[in-house]
């Protein structure tokens, strides 16, 4: 069985190769746990659940690693605002996350590494980058020098100067002491009262992009098969993960897969009809949890999808049709018609 899959790095549909024949190693960027999951998160897990189940159905042994970013500015901001311990927010949000995933029928990943469990290894990676002159210190942290990566911008498919001309957001391009606007933070020095871990450069916390490169390589090893996530992660997150691996001479992911956005083109109309359901638990409270999977199955994973009352209703109806078929044929069993399965798999 050969699954041909679009690869963001090469802009081509090409065979998804297996490092070990019969096995597939996948890293999926998981949530930053500071609030309830929204419907975009639902898509970014359902698409890969469908991929995983399909691969398993064809007999491939899948190892899916998907992290939890349990330390981040957004978690700290909320903790400060609500005067609560940051860990309490991270743990409760992680619980809500997996509860929603169970309701969606998304299988739990084989490994769920948390960023805070890998701080020591992240510090090690940053030290290595510094020793190779690929990172430098500023007043507020340690930064990656993107100019050492010859093909920086590969996943974005955009010249870095064009991106800068378009005006990026400050998190990406900010901080005045940076040597190049695209340079990004690897280690952020902590302010008083903020959660902090020790490092040779001063107490602080890891940058988001360093977390995922460390956790993917630690658990899946060099040259793992597939790295995936939502299209919004292509740049800067995935580009910056890749940049660190390239700077260290490490063989990183061999294939990159990104799913399209969930778009609300119905604007106010959507908010009236659906009560503006952008929060995943709300959607699951109102509709058969299978409806969202059905809606996504009827959309190509790279296309944007609208989630509105009309298409959710259509999905519920499609499910009713399949359920009634299942009820009237439940007692019938025989060898599955092979031509049907071939058409299903090949096309």
């Amino acid at each position: 069985m050969v699954l041909n899959l679009y690869d963001t790095a090469t802009s081509q549909i090409r065979p998804l190769k297996q490092r070990v024949p019969g096995e597939l190693s996948i890293y999926l960027c998981g949530p930053t746990v500071y609030g309830p999951p929204h419907i975009g998160h639902g898509r970014a897990t359902l698409v890969y659940d469908i991929l995983r189940r399909y691969l398993e159905w064809t007999g491939v042994k899948v190892r899916l690693v998907s992290n939890i970013t349990d330390i981040d500015d957004k978690i700290i901001d909320r903790a400060t605002r609500e005067n609560r311990p940051w860990l309490d927010i991270a743990q409760k949000c992680e619980h809500v996350w997996f509860e929603s995933m169970a309701r969606l029928g998304v299988k739990r990943p084989n490994d769920v590494p948390r960023a805070t469990e890998y701080v020591e290894q992240i510090v090690g990676l940053i030290a290595e980058l510094i020793s190779k002159d690929a990172a430098y210190r500023t007043d507020d942290g340690i930064y990656m020098s993107t100019s050492v990566v010859a093909d920086y911008g590969l996943l974005a498919h955009q010249n870095i100067d064009d991106m800068l001309a378009g005006g990026g957001d400050r998190n990406v391009f900010g901080a005045d002491q940076k040597k190049h606007p695209a340079d990004f933070v690897l280690w952020k020095f902590s302010k008083p009262g903020e959660p902090a871990w020790p490092s040779p450069w001063g107490e602080g916390r890891p940058g988001w992009h360093s977390e995922c490169v460390v956790m993917s390589l630690e658990l899946l090893g060099e040259g793992f098969d597939l790295h995936c996530g939502g299209a919004d992660l292509r740049f800067p997150h995935h580009e910056n993960e890749r940049a660190q691996a390239v700077a260290l001479g490490k063989d990183f992911a061999h294939h990159w897969m990104h799913n399209g956005f969930v778009v609300d083109t119905e604007g106010e109309k959507m908010s009236k009809s659906l009560g503006n359901v952008t929060n995943l638990p709300d959607l699951l409270d109102r509709y058969d949890a299978r409806a969202y999977r059905m809606l996504l199955l009827q959309t190509h994973y790279r296309s944007p999808v609208k989630v509105g009352l009309d298409n959710i209703d259509a999905s519920v109806n499609a499910l009713a049709g399949i359920d009634s078929f299942a009820a009237r044929t439940g007692s019938l069993s025989a060898t599955p018609t092979p031509q049907l399965l071939m058409r299903f798999a090949r096309r």
């Binding site: 399909y54 699951l284 009827q298 025989a334």
Partner: protein, 106 residues
């Protein structure tokens, strides 16, 4: 599916098969219906689409689901969590919404 995970095309095959199975059942051709229906069930498994099999859920599990809803209504969340864990151990996906608890085979 092997062509860039083209699920809309795969779903077309699946819906077409559902129609064929229904037609075969109506015509009393149980042999065709059985083969096509089994293929549909295979496809559903491949994409993680659970068929509604509520009728196959045994009475003991249903009783636990009813007790779970009662516990939630009484705000006895310890009991509700215990019942949920028992149902999950029996191999059910337990979904609790405002409308109540539904069970599906995992």
């Amino acid at each position: 599916m092997n062509d860039d995970l083209n699920t809309p095309v795969a779903m077309g095959v699946l819906f077409d098969a559902v129609r064929r199975a229904n037609v075969a059942v109506d015509a009393g051709d149980n042999q065709t219906a059985a083969s096509v229906a089994s293929a549909v069930r295979e496809m559903c498994a491949a994409i993680g689409l659970q068929l509604d099999v509520a009728k196959d859920i045994d009475a003991d599990a249903l009783a636990k689901a009813v007790a779970l809803d009662a516990a939630r209504a009484a705000k006895d969340f310890a009991t509700a969590d215990k019942l949920r864990a028992e149902l999950q151990a029996l191999g059910y996906l337990v979904e609790t919404t405002k409308a109540g608890t539904t069970l599906r085979h995992n």
